[in-house]
Amino acid sequence: MTVHSPSLARAIETGDLTELPSRRDEAWRWTDLRGLLRALPPKSAATDESFAGPFDKLKASNLDIVNGGGGAIAVPAGEHEIWRVVFGANAEAGTHLNTLEVDVAEGASLLLLETYLGDDTAYVADTAVAIRLARGANIERLVVSEDGAGAVSVSIATVSLAADSRFAQTVMTTGARRQRLETRIAHPGAGAMVRMDGVYLLAGQRHADITTVVDHTGPGGDTDQMIKGVVSDQARGVFQGRIVVAHGADQTNAKMKHDALVLSDQAEVDAKPELEIYADDVSCTHGNTIGALDQEAMFYAAQRGIPEDAARAMLTRAFVETVVDRIENAAAREVERGWIAARLGVAP
């Protein structure tokens, strides 16, 4: 018997709205699509429009997927490549499916600059990303989502690691009408390492859901996660992090940390950190905090003449900056720093 798992992609493929994830599905209880979408918009029209994105100044190969479609990246053994992938949705957008296949061969490395760019129309987009790392391969995946305020956008990345490979990810998002950025990682242990960080900065009525699942199936694997969120107005942030350490996956070292700042009474953060550990000899920790800005620091800044808005932006930036600091590629790190500063209205 197969377990039914709901999926936006299948709902789009079949036109059957009962396939949509709903609040009755445990994994989607905070990101209900079925209650939101009474109908799917018509299929998006093809277009060759290009989008201006945050990584445009970096030298990279380009892959633009606008209003649906697919692409593939394969990095040959021993090579190093930088790819900028844009998933765009423009005014002609209705409902569409995006796919991306990424293969990084033995000992190769890839800097993947993946952006989601959309206008404020009510598009519905599903993106499936499949990433395979061979032995000793290395990926730094930097996702920046600038989906529109009217969008429903789901992106699910499925990652498989080999021995001694390394997958590092930083997701930055400003949310959408409803948005889920999910990463599922098959982690064989065997010296493979995962870093999976993220920042969500949500205002207005935006929603973002960062969901991650890491399955440690063999001994000697590392996973390190740092997610920070800031919600204001009536925005809603969701973090669901799950790390599973299977029987026999000894010497697994896993750290999960989620911290959120709630800047208004009507904003909300829902968090569900989970460690499922079936092995004996492991080191696994998780921490989760949800709170307001430090009022002592706010007064201290005000006393020195920094007005409330500027102080809030300064402290918020300091709060999320620790995630940016972990980005390995220096040029991309500065782009991300500037991206955050622009969103918070502070000097870069």
């Binding site: 430090d294 800044a301 006393q303 020195r304 402290l315 930036r317």
Partner: protein, 248 residues
């Protein structure tokens, strides 16, 4: 310059200051001494505009301007500086970034041009050297991991860079060893100026050996119960606060 008349302040509904009156002319340094719980820190927070310190009566003006109508950052731009008894740690915000943001926010509020980075760095380097603060420390999160003495020196350095009209020093001597006390006091004395007023709040007379006040006031149960010259501090050191506690 600073004129406080009949000021009453409550915190969480509890009256702490009860009709406090105090005038500090430009160019003078006044000390306020008093036992624990007299309302010394409440006075400094109320003047600085800390949320939660509710003014229930009286007035406080700086050069004739009503301070109580302004929020904390507006008061700072008008020239009010409070050196905190326990300076706040701000992780992730380097001291340099913090101070430049503060200085330029004050300049903007007063309609003055902003200070460009090179001029700012030159100013800060000079002030840091005077206060024996390693410049590298200014690149770290403000006050994070600083010793008590380093935090106080950082306060005085900020005061020096921001060049306020009214400097309030709240228990600046607490937690300082004798060397740090001397460095901090020299920093404060260097700021004495005919167009600046200073209010030094302290529990002990010791600080006043280094920062000579023009006037000393005794605060007890939320009001000034005695005022005099510097000799009053020595009397207090000898006789304690008991008789003022009874008088109040």
């Amino acid at each position: 310059m600073l004129s406080i008349h009949n000021l009453s302040v409550s915190v969480a509904g509890n009256p702490i200051l009860n009709g406090l009156t105090l005038d500090i002319p430009a160019g003078e340094v006044h000390a306020i001494m008093g036992p624990n719980g007299a309302g010394k820190s409440t006075l400094s927070y109320a003047l600085a505009g800390r949320p939660g310190y509710e003014v229930t009566g009286g007035t406080a003006t700086l050069n004739g301007e009503d301070l109580l109508a302004l929020n904390a950052s507006q008061r700072a731009a008008k020239g009010v500086f409070l050196s905190f008894q326990y300076p706040t740690e701000i992780p992730g915000v380097p001291a340099l970034t913090f101070l430049r943001t503060a200085l330029n926010a004050q300049h903007r509020a007063r309609g003055e041009p902003e200070v460009a980075a090179p001029a700012f760095l030159k100013l800060v380097r000079a002030k840091a050297a005077e206060l024996k603060i390693e410049f590298e420390m200014l690149k770290r999160g403000l006050n994070v991991g600083f010793s008590g003495g380093e935090k106080k020196r950082m306060e005085i350095m900020q005061m020096s860079v921001l060049s306020p009209k009214l400097a309030i020093l709240d228990e600046t001597d607490s937690g300082l060893d004798i060397d740090a006390l001397r460095i901090v006091s020299e920093g404060v004395n260097a700021m004495r100026s005919p167009d600046r007023a200073m209010l030094v709040i302290t529990h002990y007379q010791r600080l006043l050996d280094y920062i000579r006040p023009d006037r000393v006031h005794v605060l007890s149960a939320g009001k000034i119960v005695a005022s005099g010259g510097p000799e009053l501090a020595l009397d207090l050191e000898r006789e304690g606060y008991d008789r003022y506690a009874r008088a109040a």
